[in-house]
Symmetry: C2
Subunit: 191 residues, 2 copies
DNA sequence: AGAATATGCAACATCAATGATGCAACTTCT
DNA sequence: AGAAGTTGCATCATTGATGTTGCATATTCT
């Protein structure tokens, strides 16, 4: 994106990455953690963090940008507008889970603070909405289902599933989608 | 609980209540809000807050204690061990939603910080687990369902539904339980 | 009215987090 | 080797939140 420094560029970028990863690890555990704690977790002096990120806000923004990028890519990779709804649902879920497990904090904050990230998230939400609409038309979702509620339930399940931090995201996704579509009941006594 | 002050007791208690309510309102919107903001929201000087609560920690603990009490009462009122599982599920859900809508922050933090509150929450979790076990035995939940996953899905849905802040908790509970048991799909193409 | 209690206001002390800077030491590229 | 760049360390200023206290002023109970 920039042509500022040629030499030693890889070193600096590696440090930036290390800090971003450490920040996610620390902040997901305690959103109020200090820059000192983040620096320590990254195995770096606090001043170094401040050299790379002008302010705490800038650091969080960078995390949000990074996570948002991965998020968008995760959705793209599933081709949710061209693949059959049910398949796309599984694929999107598995891909997004992978990102959300590693960047849960950054993704949650992205909505609130960063302007660009918010735009990307809004775009993804639209795509999600379209996917759900297609799923309903295809008979995957019931015809009488409230799409807004459906999307919120889906997000809630993703959030919950991501807490497992299981590396088998395929299995997580399978269980999640199964629960979303079939629920957990037998159907007895429910009219 | 205490016999310290007889006169003017009602005044002080009213102030305490006002502060607790304001704190919940403010902190649910921004967990990092200052005592100043809380005091302002309560229509009270910051010093008054500090007179009633020795520290920020004490304030949060008081919120947790208050919310936890209401939480336990909400579960009790549904008689989850004696009522038929499905009925109890609806009733508990509606009651808990009522509390969670008004005390979402206090209930979430309760688990982490306060020791007594944690005990109550643990007790409630046990009751929830038993209720789910009964539901499975009664054929309300499928026999092959993982109870741990079921409970987490249930919590996630409650958390999500509580965001609606709708005052019709009966309707919310109905939709929530319906989603939990039946899911949102038609069952087509799912083996 | 008088006593007890509660609150607002102003002021103060403390403390932790943030952000900036200069300097020496080290690594990497040419 | 020399230049450029990066980091660690020590240090300092600033800021915002926290918690305390004294005093004047209601408010309420008896």
């Amino acid at each position: 994106m920039s042509g500022t420094t040629r030499a030693l560029r890889s070193d600096a970028e590696r440090t930036v990455r290390t800090i971003l990863v450490a920040a996610e690890r620390v902040l997901s555990g305690n959103p109020a953690a200090s820059m000192e704690q983040i620096a320590e977790a990254a195995g770096v002096a606090r001043t170094t963090v401040h050299r790379r990120f002008a302010s705490r806000e800038a650091l969080v923004a960078a995390m949000a940008a990074w996570a948002t990028r991965q998020f968008a890519e995760a959705v793209d990779a599933a081709h949710p507008e061209t693949t059959p709804p049910l398949v796309a649902l599984y694929q999107v879920t598995a891909n997004v889970l992978r990102v959300k497990i590693d960047w849960g904090f950054a993704m949650s904050r992205a909505l609130i603070t960063d302007p660009d990230a918010a735009a990307v998230h809004a775009r993804v939400e639209e795509r999600c909405e379209r996917l759900f609409a297609r799923a309903r038309e295809a008979g995957v979702l019931r015809a009488d289902v409230d799409l807004h509620w459906a999307r919120r339930v889906y997000y809630a399940l993703i959030h919950e599933a991501a807490q497992a931090r299981d590396d088998d995201t395929e299995a997580l996704a399978a269980r999640l989608v199964d629960t979303l579509l079939r629920g957990l009941g037998t159907g007895q006594g429910l009219g």
